[in-house]
Amino acid sequence: MTIERVLTVLYLIGCIAVGLIASRKVSRSSDEYWVAGRKIGPVVNSMAIMAALASGGSIIGVMGLAYATGIPATLALFTGASIGFPIAALLVAGPLRKFGKFTITDFMVYRYPHAIVRYLVPILIVVSFTAYIIAQMKVAGITANALLGIPYDTALTLATLVFITYVSLGGMLAITWTDVFQGTLMLFVVIGAALLLMFRIGSPMTIMEQATAVAPELGRMGTDQGITSYLGSFVIWASAISVIPHIVMRVFTAKDSRSAKLSLNLSMVFYAVLILAAVLAITPVGKMNFPELQDADTVFLRVIETEFHPFFRGIAVAAVLAAVMSTTDALLLACSSAIAHDLLGNYIEKRLSHKTGHWITVGVAWAVGLVAMSMAYDPPALVTEFYTIAIGLLSAGLFVPVIAGLWWKKANLAGGIASLLGGVTTYAIVQYTPSVFPAGSAILMAIPASTLLMWIGGTFAPSESATMIAEITELHRTEEA
């Protein structure tokens, strides 16, 4: 395991070095720290978006999910994300980029200025993203354990300390630089592994035929999952891309609205290739070779361990850690921004020096990372399923208020608050009463409830001020001009 360990250590040292170099630039201003000075071009940004979304969940989790629940269920979830990109590009990228702040909370608080929105949105982000981070940390732990022979807890601790260090030091600039490299590495390993397997066995159709002959459940719709489960995970991701903070923050880093839209569209191409390679080539081979895995999330690791040369295994460990880190760093920054910028931003700006504020931000990143790490010592079973439920909470609360706030003139304070609260409450009630509602139905009820409440508020409560309406109209006009 020497080669694998050397490659992994080199990679981790490189990540910290990037954080240190970036920290010299970003400590100068909040704009530099949170949104990399808004200077990121479309190709770099698209790779960074892909890397941020294509998490440990997309490399390890997608194959684990396909292994455990079948390929149709898995593709339903990830196709939802793929459709979410054009929805985000058409409906939110342009006007939000023109809005020109740092976070999705900034927009929500501006559009619906109320304490409930100011405090509830960051809390929702922290809660759901902590779950997302825990899932990523499990992936880091099982990967290092399986391919490097390091105990799960030790691997988890080491990986967490590395990415907290470079995020807290380097902010969005460090994340962008590392994400581009990490995204490239992920594509190389997953596509490379898929192509090698196809070279040995045959086309995806041949691989699929062989695998489903041994394990027919791989290609079938699961018997214990209704269509609502498929539709639910599809809708969660289709709606999430427009509102999940670590993707929206990337929109804010773009040079302009055209660049933001192009970045989203390009990233989707990379993302789709990655998922299809994982699901159509690697998972079926894993199912054929290891039909009885205890932990389905380890299927990719088993395939890599048995089918490839140690050098490729070393690269693969780095790629999986890259996938984990490129998402976790973005999540960590979004969580950190939810607390340091959205909740404490006014206090820090008014009462503390810029330098003190910067160190509080660094401290918050450490606190969030360490809390998530402590929870990840007892990890969830299927990572993708686990964090999809958490992301559903954000989609349920934010999708309708954000889209209506940008596009519907009648969207007002009452409608915004009712829509946010109604979406979150409905989702929580349905999700946590599985004996009453079918699996996956929470988002299918939450979004209509949120829409209805927005409509009632917008129709019957006082309309927004002329100034607000003029300003939002301007976001679209500027976009058009």
Binding site: I71, P72, L75, L90, T212, F234, A238, N265, H476
Partner: protein
Amino acid sequence: MSNFQKLPAADGLYLIVLIGFSAISFLPFWRGIEVAGLSMLGWWMVFLMVYVPTSALIHFARSEKKRGQGGGKR
């Protein structure tokens, strides 16, 4: 008029096509059909994962070209 800005017709049409294709995915009639061991729902999702990124880029390029022809306002 209660919209801030009317969504351009081409963008609206493209969104309707995406929603239509998504709705087709969940129709009941092809859930039992399998090709090469994978249900048709799975193959349709594979098609969408290829079609959506490709069509989105083409749609973006066309919109940009149209804007450019409109006087290069950007």
